[in-house]
């Protein structure tokens, strides 16, 4: 038998071929990250926490039980998913380099941008699945406590997922230029600042205090506002609590905001990765 084949067709040109390569990397990454032990560890702990909130809710007043479960879920599910995203995102490239699997893949007719995007989207898919599993557990517990699974809850989950995608993009960006540990620290730093940056805005707008009065601090505040995305855009727990409506405009705006920032971080990551010598 010969290894030479007549007229094997290689489709490497055009956007469809490009999409095919991204999806190939994506599904392999989903498979790869879905095999990480840490992932299942985090998932199981999160599920236990969610079910544990039933017991916790017994301590609450009768009419507060469902509320407590709801708040707990809204807090825990994004946090756990984001932590998973950071944990797996910072080693996304590192692992391929360390295990030398990258060296067999990149010499194929694939662009580095396609590879990076595929890796990122593969991880995002895993995180989506994680979030869905956790949400299902949460819904079960809510139902058990007589809570209502309303439309705003889905909006809250959707926005949380956009936040997850954004933080994962940040982790991917840092991992393209530094070690996993440092990337992890920097990403978590960005996450924390992003979560509380609305406070800085308040401080800057206040009539008193260092952020309002010292010019240098005002500049620092503005710098943070530009570099670090304001993650409060993805948090609608107040609206949920007070029963305020969440308008489609707000949803679209927040989703657009999150995806734009994700895209910026991915492009920055690519600019670094593109130039990197893979020895």
């Amino acid at each position: 038998m010969k290894t030479k084949w007549q007229g094997i067709e290689l489709k490497v040109h055009g956007p469809r071929a490009s999409l095919g390569r991204v999806s190939a990397v994506m599904s392999n990454t989903l498979r790869e990250t879905g095999r990480t032990r840490a992932f299942y560890g985090v998932l199981i702990v999160a599920m236990l926490l969610l079910f544990g909130s039933v017991i916790l809710s017994d301590l609450a007043l009768v009419n507060q039980k469902a509320r407590l479960v709801q708040d707990f879920g809204l807090f825990t599910i994004p946090l756990v998913t984001i932590l998973t995203g950071v944990l797996l995102g910072v080693v996304l490239l590192q692992k391929e380099i360390e295990k030398k699997t990258l060296y067999a893949i990149l010499p194929k007719p694939i662009r580095r941008g396609e590879f990076l995007l595929g890796k990122y989207l593969g991880l995002c898919t895993l995180l989506l699945l994680e979030m869905l599993v956790l949400a299902l557990c949460w819904f079960a517990v809510l139902a058990l406590r007589g809570g209502e699974i309303s439309a705003p809850i889905f909006s809250a989950l959707l926005l949380s997922y956009v936040e997850v995608m954004l933080i994962t993009a940040i982790a991917t960006f840092f991992s393209s230029l530094s070690s996993p540990l440092l990337s992890g620290i920097l990403t978590l730093g960005m996450f924390i600042i992003g979560r509380i940056s609305y406070i800085i805005v308040d401080l800057m707008n206040a009539s008193k205090g260092v952020f309002a009065e010292v010019a240098a601090m005002r500049w620092l505040g503005r710098g943070i506002m530009v570099v670090v995305p304001d993650l409060s855009a993805f948090n609608i727990s107040d609206e949920l609590l007070l029963g305020w409506p969440v308008t489609p405009e707000y949803l679209l705006h927040s989703i657009g905001y999150g995806l734009s920032y994700s895209a910026i971080f991915l492009v920055l990551g690519l600019l670094v990765f593109e130039r990197r010598d893979l020895t």
């Binding site: 290689l10 489709k11 095919g20 999806s23 067999a104 990149l106 007719p109 694939i110 010598d277």
Partner: protein, 321 residues
């Protein structure tokens, strides 16, 4: 037809450590490959073979120089469409089965799912992995991984194969099989770029070689020319007469102008000389009462060539290290 691969004035300097100390891995290397050519890229450990390959494949950026693959810049992903590459250490995703690795690679080449389903088992069968198709790579031996590496390099029916030390880590049987496969691939008209530091491994496969030492190409060209195969040499064994005649015979034979080397033992001596001077030697031996008893053709091997070149360039450049 145009060149398959053109490397001109390739240099790569790495920066290492906090002080960005420069390490020159490749220095001003140029060569090219014609369609169907088998090029041996030779050199000892650390001479810059893998670095050159990584530049060709766009894994690292050359510090200087220009590389064209099928006439295209090596930075374009499309230029690699017709290339099959096997890395020095073929590591693949160890949680995948060989069929899955190949399927992934096939997708990157834009091969239709239908074609993949048919070709992949065929190819694995062809490479003797039929029995291991449904096992994950985790438990694979070095030789089996090498076969997976070869299989994935052939999936796109490449015109140019780039193999980085494919013989390393294979047992003698594996080497022989690989050599046979390479001959077959060459006969199918593919160009092969193959690196090695074990020269005899690829001596019989290559048309031409580039010999690298410390990042510099110290010899380059068709193998026959480099090895001076047109000037055939022979090694003659002469039985010497005993007694007083012995020394006289030795002196007379060594004095022949064509003799390039000689060694003496108890009752015999070995003489090396161009093959066309053998009759002259035979006649002279008979004259002094000695006999030509054995004649062997001598071929300059790549090892000898390499040692000769490496030593001359090292002494030329002085104490560079």
């Amino acid at each position: 037809m145009s060149k398959i691969l053109e490397v001109s004035h390739l240099s790569k300097t790495f920066r290492v450590g906090l002080l960005a100390r420069p390490v020159v891995a490749v220095r001003d290397v140029s060569f090219s490959m014609e369609p169907g050519q088998v090029l041996g890229y030779l050199g000892p450990n650390g001479s810059g073979k893998t670095t050159s390959i990584k530049c060709i494949l766009g894994l690292i950026q050359p510090s200087q120089g220009d590389i064209r693959l099928f006439g295209q810049s090596s930075n374009s992903a499309e230029a690699r469409t017709r290339v099959g590459y096997m890395p020095e250490h073929p590591y693949f995703y160890d949680y995948l089965k060989p069929t899955e690795v190949l399927d992934y690679v096939g997708q990157l080449f834009g091969i239709d799912a239908q074609v993949r389903r048919k070709r992949i088992p065929e190819l694995l069968e062809r490479l003797g992995l039929g029995h291991a198709m449904d096992r994950t790579l985790r438990g694979f031996s070095k030789g089996m991984l090498q076969r997976v590496g070869i299989a994935q390099s052939l999936l796109n029916d490449p015109d140019l194969l780039i193999y980085d030390e494919p013989m390393s880590g294979l047992d003698p049987v594996g080497r022989k099989e690989l050599r046979e496969l390479l001959v077959e691939l060459r006969e199918e008209g593919r160009s092969i770029f193959i690196t090695s530091h074990i020269l005899s491994d690829i001596e019989n496969i290559c048309d031409s070689v580039v010999i690298l030492n410390q990042g510099v190409a110290i010899a380059e060209g068709p193998l026959d020319t480099l090895l001076q195969r047109d000037k055939l040499q022979s090694s003659a064994t002469i039985r010497l007469p005993s007694g007083e005649q012995r020394q006289a015979a030795v002196d007379a034979l060594v004095a022949l102008p064509a003799v390039t080397a000689s060694t003496e033992t108890e009752g015999a001596m070995m003489i090396r000389l161009p093959t066309d001077a053998v009759p002259q030697l035979s006649a002279k031996a008979a004259e002094c009462g000695a006999h030509l008893v054995d004649l062997q053709p001598v071929r300059d091997t790549l090892e000898e060539l390499f040692m000769r070149k490496a030593v001359t360039t090292a002494s030329d450049s002085g104490d560079d290290s």
